[in-house]
Assembly symmetry: C2
Homo-oligomer: 385 residues x 2
């Protein structure tokens, strides 16, 4: 069977779903690999490097060329509509928001796997793209903060006086938040962090951060993810966070709720209470933002309430794509590992009795297998009528 | 006596020669301080913060307002020509290149102190602006590299495989180079460094770097600075460096020779032999560059010789000004400390029997006191006739 790797079409997307390293892995499984010309350029992989690894480079990859189609970003409904029945697709699918694509995949009879749905069990860690890409985002967001911050992160004791370390506050201590804590700590900052999940306190501490303990009830949803707060508790949370925000030089927000808009953690007034020169990076900008007024893909200079300067508010966009080489290295491995789990004797044959395969499957044989998505698609269709 | 702090006029210069902290220090010495409106804005200091510290903020600072004039960038010949005899100036003066200004300062009867000429003795460390600003540049240059590098700096061992650390090569191990080594190391890179001065090997090692030992004779000039190599030895040095450059993911060049153009350490061919995605940052771009083809203030995408991608070549400009808050904090302390050395009973009265005062003095009483500069100005005048 043949696996196709397309050049990503979305503007700003620089990753690729296979590297020469994973091409070698896939061909060793007996699969043929077709790579669209230029697919790896932004990640540092020339067409020649794919050919050398055993792939066939084609000028344009069409759905008829392959039985398995690997991608980074969710497919468009139009493209999904052109896929042949029985085609296997594998990549990010944003099932909660890309309902039209999900419906088209089901209608086309495609067996679609969404990397977002890979169960968070230890056997599936090597296929967990949310984790691998959050590692990139969490590291990157600290560099983005440091490059905009008019001061040092580390403490320096110099002949001309002592420079205190930057105070970094991280909100949301998932994979990206923990990685942000670790990276800011590496750079020498004094780091504190907050998460609604009390279980994250130990993780924050182990990364070198100080856990901010607010006097709020614990909130933890299924699978270790955060779940939504009631509005009055969200207000109380913001009130309790305000003094920590005001004391921070750099704030990084990473709070996400799967399938929902990002929670509003920081109001405009909380930002304006910060000192001039402070930097706020909102990693959740693309899903609505943790910070009021954030604009995706843009820096905003927010005047301080004291009138003595500005806070730089950054709406991060496409964070993993800013480091396409290592982001693709990990993503491609996630894809190849999931594919390897389903491949025997050169053929991809998903075994739905396997909890990872079953969990990651979004559509199969004309139906939407992921129940919350099926319900959302049904609701959307009803709403339209 | 009154000290004047002007808003810097040079485009791209964001530092200021006094902070509210040093205003307090200067007023405690009995000096009056006049600050031009907006002088500290880019460094995060409002006019109000200067007033609160005891300064008088004036809309426009004119030479007649003050007896002492502190600045960051070298003055223009025009401005120097307007200063009254006996005025004391204090700031960076670039005496080797700004000959017209030096001549104008002498002609105006100004007592000018150049921070570049502060002797490198331990008593004068707190006045050493070259060192304090190089600390900023050395830290900053690593952030500039990391933000352009498509991979991580640190080693990561993840479920989807191990990511090796970035290999960073630093050429020139002065204050900026050592700080670059330390910062790259903090971020988790594997760092090696080279300097023509063998004495720097221990310093490189103490910062966590591996010293690159080339089979070249040692070269060390006066005061611990590097001096120029003969052309055939410079060629040999480049040949010996080539394999280290080719193996690096990130190269940072910081080699400077006081009063001279920066030495050419890396040829175009050495850059094109690097891997695609590699990043080269030339901190010496403003003085001619250590890397062939570098453009000051610009990123250049240099095609690799293998044709598989590009190396990003960055000509750093105004590095300390990219972090104006902490750069100004240190610079202003250097200025205030030198001024304090010359101040008694509210009056600035330079004591030329003090080795620091005498060493830092560029012009006084109508003459150019720094002999190499006096010779250069005389040669320039002769050349013009």
């Amino acid at each position: 069977m043949r696996v196709g790797i397309a050049r990503e079409r979305l503007r700003g997307e620089r990753r690729v779903a296979a590297t020469p390293e994973t091409v070698t892995q896939l061909t060793a499984l007996g699969l043929g690999v077709l790579v669209e010309a230029g697919a790896g350029t932004e990640s540092g992989h020339s067409d020649t490097s794919y050919t050398d690894a055993g792939a066939t480079v084609v000028p344009l990859l069409t759905p008829g060329d392959v039985e398995i189609f690997c991608h980074v970003r969710p497919l468009t409904p139009e493209f999904a509509g052109t896929l042949r029945p029985g085609t296997v697709t594998l990549g990010l699918a944003s099932p909660a928001s890309e309902l039209a694509t999900v419906a088209a995949l089901a209608a086309s009879g495609v067996t679609a796997f969404a990397l977002e749905l890979v169960p968070r069990i230890s056997r599936a860690q090597s296929m967990d793209a949310l984790t691998s890409q959050s590692l990139v985002s969490g590291y990157r967001v600290v560099l983005e903060a440091a490059i905009r911050f008019p001061r040092f992160f580390p403490l320096y004791m110099t002949a001309a006086g002592t420079i205190p370390p930057a105070r970094v506050l991280v909100l949301g201590a998932g994979v990206a938040g923990l990685q942000a804590i670790a990276t800011a700590k590496r750079l020498g900052a004094r780091v504190s962090a907050y998460d609604v999940r009390p279980a994250s306190a130990d993780e924050v501490t182990s990364m070198g951060g100080t856990f901010v303990n607010l006097d709020l009830d614990a909130v933890e949803g299924a699978g270790g993810y955060a779940r939504e707060l009631s509005e009055d508790r969200a207000v109380r949370q913001r009130e309790l966070l305000a003094p920590y925000v005001a004391a921070a030089d750099v704030m990084i927000t990473t709070a996400a709720i799967p399938g929902r808009a990002a929670p509003l953690l920081v109001t405009h007034d909380m930002v304006t209470a910060m000192r001039p020169g402070s930097v706020v990076i909102d990693l959740a900008a693309e899903t609505g933002g943790n910070v009021e007024g954030v604009l995706t893909g843009q820096d905003t200079q927010v005047p301080t309430s004291a009138g003595d300067g500005f806070v730089t508010l950054v709406g991060m966009q496409d964070a993993p794509s800013t480091m396409p080489a290592d982001a693709s290295r990990l993503f491609a491995k996630n894809v190849a590992n999931l594919l390897a789990l389903m491949t025997a004797d050169g053929a991809v044959t998903p075994d739905f009795t396997d909890e990872v395969v079953a969990g990651a499957c979004l559509t199969h044989d004309g139906t939407i297998r992921h129940e919350p998505t099926a319900a959302a698609v049904a609701a959307a269709v009803t709403g339209e009528n």
